[in-house]
């Protein structure tokens, strides 16, 4: 089986991650909107709670995969010169992985601190 996210596999990845992202991001946004954390401790305790912290850990790779497939589709549709397209895809991959590691770092520092 190909390890590349292409064709039907990318299509399936996009939909599976969409369901998780829709559920958790809606919960996250509603929580922040209806009950914004009053101070640092309240916010930290909420994020570090057993269910929410695992949900965040799962959110990061789901978001990265979804963003990768989505933006890749957009670039393939609109950016025709192959050199520019590949450069933008490389930049995208780099930016996404860096953002993901950055978010995980924040979550793990929270666990240790």
């Amino acid at each position: 089986m190909s390890r590349r996210a292409s064709g039907l596999k990318a299509w399936a990845v996009q939909r599976a991650t969409a369901v998780y992202l829709a559920g958790f991001s809606l919960y996250l946004v509603l929580h922040l909107f209806l009950a914004p954390p009053v101070d640092y401790l309240a916010w930290r305790d909420w994020v570090a709670g057993p269910a929410v912290s695992v949900a965040f850990l799962l959110f990061v790779p789901a978001l990265l995969a979804h963003a990768w497939v989505g933006i890749r589709d957009v670039l393939i549709d609109y950016v025709k010169p192959i050199g520019v397209r590949v450069s933008l895809l490389a930049l995208l991959a780099f930016a996404l992985v860096a953002s993901g590691l950055w978010a995980l770092q924040a979550l793990f520092l929270l666990r240790m601190g």
Partner: protein, 124 residues
Amino acid sequence: MSKNRPVFLDLWRIRLPITGWASILHRISGVVLVLTTPYGVYLFGLSLSGPAGFADAASHLSSGLVRVLLLMLAWSFLHHLFAGIRFLMLDLGLGIDRTGARKSAWVAVSAAVAVALIGWGIRL
């Protein structure tokens, strides 16, 4: 495939049906969300770095320019969510007749604008 196919891409004269609007706005909102992800991660890390960082992030979010950005982000999130749920339903074969697809496209496009404005008005 001929390379000399006629191409009509006069964006001001193309009359896109509402289903087309739901689709292209889904793409645009997705790009906006990805472009603002590093900023979101930055605020997330800052807010969790300690009481001072939390205060910094909170004051950052209440500044004028950021509030306008938040309206755009709220719309992007809501449109991507609503149009995305609609696409998933279409994938499941729900509402794929023309009338149903047009109706759900109208609902997704207008609900995103309405909920974004209402939420922004209440919270900001």
